[in-house]
Assembly symmetry: C2
Homo-oligomer: 599 residues x 2
């Protein structure tokens, strides 16, 4: 069984046929010259690296995991060497500014390569992803001195970065954080406290680790208004980024986790560690969250990475495993039994995995284009529109793709029957690794509150309209396309219903704010199904258009239309349940006091 095959053909379809990336790049300031050939070459190289270097380490990373020894973390066999190859090939610098040694390629291309890395070896991929967060933060909010000292080595990949937010008693509620920063006479700060769940907090893959740390300056206000942001390196460096000596940052232990064993999840102790303020005092939270949309889109992509990996593995298994006969007569009459892919229920699971994986790809790449525009659109209006739309879609993408990714990964196990429970097939690892994605970077519940409370209701419905208008225009455009009626008609209805339900939920929330929390996850999932319906309609339309003119891609395009049909007939009816439950009121949730749940 192949470990992983990068789905370059589907990536090409989504980027070049469906979402018009060539035109997008041609209009993107700074990347007007980026040709489709260069993009393809980048993706092919990334695919090779993922298939040949990362995917073969998938299981060993799980079995060996990371090891902690007296403060030093070692990564599984091969991880370090793979990282060296990755650095040598220039991958870390791809989307960063040439000012710091980067290649100035668009962020969207980085997001696509994240998919390939994340599907090939999710645990390994956690190290470079976190570095990006640190780089972006320093670049956006750091002083020129901080940029010179830290960015060149981070951009080259010689160093990696982390984001240190969570503490034992606070995750979602960062206002409670206790890590302290005391000013030193030289303008630096002494940072003291304990951070947990720090991905890549320590490891053996790079020369230095640059921590971006949230802490409270002595005397700062309580709550979120007294939080500042600091850069605290593992090794202190001079102005040119030369390593001087060890800083008082130590990995106290690593967590034993359900999955992603190859990714070190560290307890980090800061013991009067030397740090430097990034951005303004007490404005650390907003600085930390500058690139939250982008970070969450990358996390969103992890959802369909796991759907894709599970899909590939279960497709191969169900095509080969012989067991029972088809109810409609033998399909492999000369063999001892039929391959289990003949059974409709096995197909239900495979098709579900397919539409969740490919659906996630469409939504994430769409958001990736918006990320490009928020950073470099030609006009401020375009930038603002992109930012609005991205802000609206981010919680949907993050939560819906990871939830359906988990469901898909779980279906892959089911396709294997009892063998799915056995480690050597890899599908149970895929589920275990996948499980983190609905938890970190804001749980599904937090994303749902963000969507419904802060964004949709908080904007008086305007943010929702920014997307429903796009769907509305699309439906109008295709209202006379006979072949598209099976998709356009339900999409029109859902798009209308989406607005109506929002009004209904909003009205309840005016009377009782708890109604927001009571309906938010159902609302988010509903929104996700409608969003995917829009993209699956576009996929069908694109495929039908190609079929009209070009027979070379016939099988591929027909399968797209079939998948869209499956999505509309078999997945989209899930909205029927969410419509009822999200409007059923919060009373049944709030009836019990905390002591009455169990006796």
């Amino acid at each position: 069984m192949a470990d992983y095959k990068a789905p370059l053909r589907d990536i090409d379809f989504v980027m070049n046929k469906l979402l018009g990336f060539p035109a997008h790049y041609a209009a993107l300031p700074g990347n007007e010259e980026l040709s489709q050939e260069v993009v393809s070459a980048v993706l092919e190289e990334s695919a090779k690296f993922s298939e040949n270097v990362l995917a073969p380490m998938y299981r060993v990373g799980d079995i060996e995991g990371c090891q902690w020894d007296d403060g030093n973390v070692s990564t599984p066999t091969g991880f370090k060497e793979a990282y060296q190859q990755y650095v040598k090939a220039g991958w870390p610098s791809m989307t960063h500014s040439s000012e710091f040694g980067g290649q100035d390629l668009p962020n969207s291309l980085g997001i696509v390569t994240c998919e390939l890395i994340g599907t090939g070896n999710f645990a390994w991929g956690a190290y470079p992803v976190l570095s990006t967060g640190a780089m972006n933060t320093i670049k956006a909010h750091g002083t020129d001195e901080q940029k010179s000292a830290f960015l060149p080595n981070l951009v080259s990949g010689n160093w990696t970065g982390t984001m240190c937010l969570t503490e034992p008693h606070c995750g979602t509620d960062l206002g409670l954080l206790r890590t302290k920063a005391a000013p030193n006479s030289d303008g630096s700060y002494s940072v003291s406290g304990t951070k947990i769940f720090i991905t890549g907090g320590d490891h053996d893959m790079a020369d230095n680790i640059v921590h971006i740390v949230l802490a409270r300056i002595e005397g700062a206000p309580a709550g979120t208004k007294g939080i500042s942001l600091f850069v605290v390196p593992k090794f202190n460096v001079d102005a040119e980024g030369n390593i001087i000596d060890r800083n008082a940052v130590n990995c106290g232990s690593i967590e034993h986790k359900m999955g992603i064993h190859g990714s070190s999840t560290c307890v980090m102790n800061f013991d009067s560690a030397k740090g430097f303020l990034i951005g303004q005092e007490n404005k650390g939270l907003s600085a930390m969250f500058t690139f939250m949309n982008e970070a969450r889109i990358v996390t969103a992509s992890q959802g369909y990475c796991h759907a894709e990996l599970g899909f590939q593995k279960s497709l191969e298994y169900t095509r080969e495993r012989l067991q029972m006969r088809s109810l409609s007569g033998p399909k492999n009459p000369t063999g001892p039994a039929d391959p289990i892919i003949v059974h409709p229920d096995v197909r239900r699971m495979l098709m579900s995995q397919k539409v969740f994986s490919e659906g996630g790809r469409m939504l994430v790449y769409y958001c990736a284009q918006l990320v490009d525009l928020t950073l470099a659109a030609a006009t401020e209006e375009e930038r603002k529109n992109a930012d609005n739309l991205l802000t609206f879609l981010t919680p949907i993408a993050k939560a819906f793709i990871t939830e359906t990714g988990f469901e898909s990964a779980n279906m892959a196990i089911q396709c294997f029957g009892g063998h799915g429970f056995i480690s050597e097939w890899g599908v149970e690892q895929n589920l275990r690794d996948c499980r983190i994605s609905t938890l970190y970077e804001g749980t599904t519940g937090i994303q749902a509150l963000d969507l419904l409370g802060r964004k949709v209701l908080g904007s008086g419905g305007k943010m929702l309209q920014s997307f429903t208008k796009i769907i509305h225009s699309y439906c109008l455009e295709h209202q006379d396309n006979v072949a598209m009626q099976e998709f356009i008609k339900p999409l029109v209805d859902l798009n209308k219903e989406w607005g109506e339900i929002t009004m209904s939920v909003g009205a309840k929330a005016m009377e009782n704010p708890d109604e927001v929390g009571g309906s938010s996850v159902d609302y988010l999932m509903y929104s996700g199904y409608v969003t995917y319906a829009y993209f699956w309609a576009r996929a069908a339309e694109t495929a039908l258009k190609i079929l009209d003119t070009d027979s070379a891609d016939e099988d591929f395009c027909k399968s797209k239309v079939a998948a869209a049909r499956f999505y509309f007939q078999r997945i989209l009816p899930r909205t029927r349940t969410h419509v009822v439950t999200m409007q059923s009121g919060v009373e049944s949730l709030m009836a019990l006091n905390a002591d009455q749940f169990a006796f």
Copy 2:
């Protein structure tokens, strides 16, 4: 955090208030004298054993797992000693015949204690459960000599048993099995072949292991009609059950699995091992499946065991974890934040776990009563009715309870946020352990085919009616109960719809047999939701009745009614989706050929 608290109060409610176990036992031939006090005492002792002995070994069993060394399997620290205590206390013999040293207690009581064991330590519980299968098989189909040789030591628990069905190339499709049995001159057989996924195939907890093995006698017909059943002990024994010498049965290796690490899952090699035919030649499959309903009800109970354990852990955590404020104003104003149980979405997850756990308990105990009746009803008609109803409910119970158990276990992780992914809290282990339950003893897909194809459509709808009639009578009985209207009205509608959908699906299946497989899992899940609705209505009715007369149980009973209301308002609408998808036709599933799923 307590490891586990046996929910004796809810067990009492379900057994004694809701399902009338005292009357059931009083009318059960052989157990007429069994008092409620004795039952309570048995359950209290079982609860103590589970809470104090089994639950504390929960994590060590996961961390250490079983170890294989040159054919010998050792179990985790404490497992053997716990088993010795279990044997000494007489638990293995509880429900078995006094003829072989048993205590003649009803099987239903064994099923209830299975819940307590399975929730306290699921992996440990796998050893005694499998023994029961072996005992029942020998008792039902063995010769008197086989019974004398094997049953006393199995009943006492000095020995354990296994069921050896699966081979590397066949699980569901046992007709393909290759293990051979060659007749010896002394009437025994030489059994040769490899079995996989053998729970408790080897371990260090008992003096002998008695394998019940499916094999094909030389020259027997191919397929399921040539399969015979054998008893093959690890150590050969004489007629009185004294151990003579080692048999040629060896554990070749143990599997590395997603969960239940403390349960040994063995590859068993039979190398001309001495075995004895049980029952008739070539009738092995039907002999093996004699107690399938009962075995599957025990597996069904594992689903709500995991729901219960996850519920207990997440309830405790969400009552203690302080994070953010309630949207409707602080609920813990003097603390730094509110406990997260104030948030409606956290409550949605807790209430879901509660209704799935307590719902599973009601259905399983109901089935347990039917098991008693199939074994010992006063009249043949009563026995037959019970058997019919049990046969119908078994696939629903097995698949629906384990699927919703998995969902519940997953929600428990979500309640913990990022901490849910960390092993020390135990909820991720609960999910990993849980995952096997929808796979073994027939996957959810197999149960669904069994329900819709073989039972419902196979009986021309009669088997369905045997249950819908019960619901119908119940609704009639309570149609004038004003307080029950919120439950009775939707139940009446659903019960009617259940029959109509069955007709609609059946009509499609007449034209295309694949329609059965295409709608079966949706049909099963729909059936499960309606079945739970019936039991939740009964729970509400029972609680309301108690509230009318007795204020001592007020909080408990009010929480039951609230849970029923939550179930009807928030869970039951899931039927709306299944109604649509199961009637959407099989075309969208069958459109692609096996090569067109991915490119």
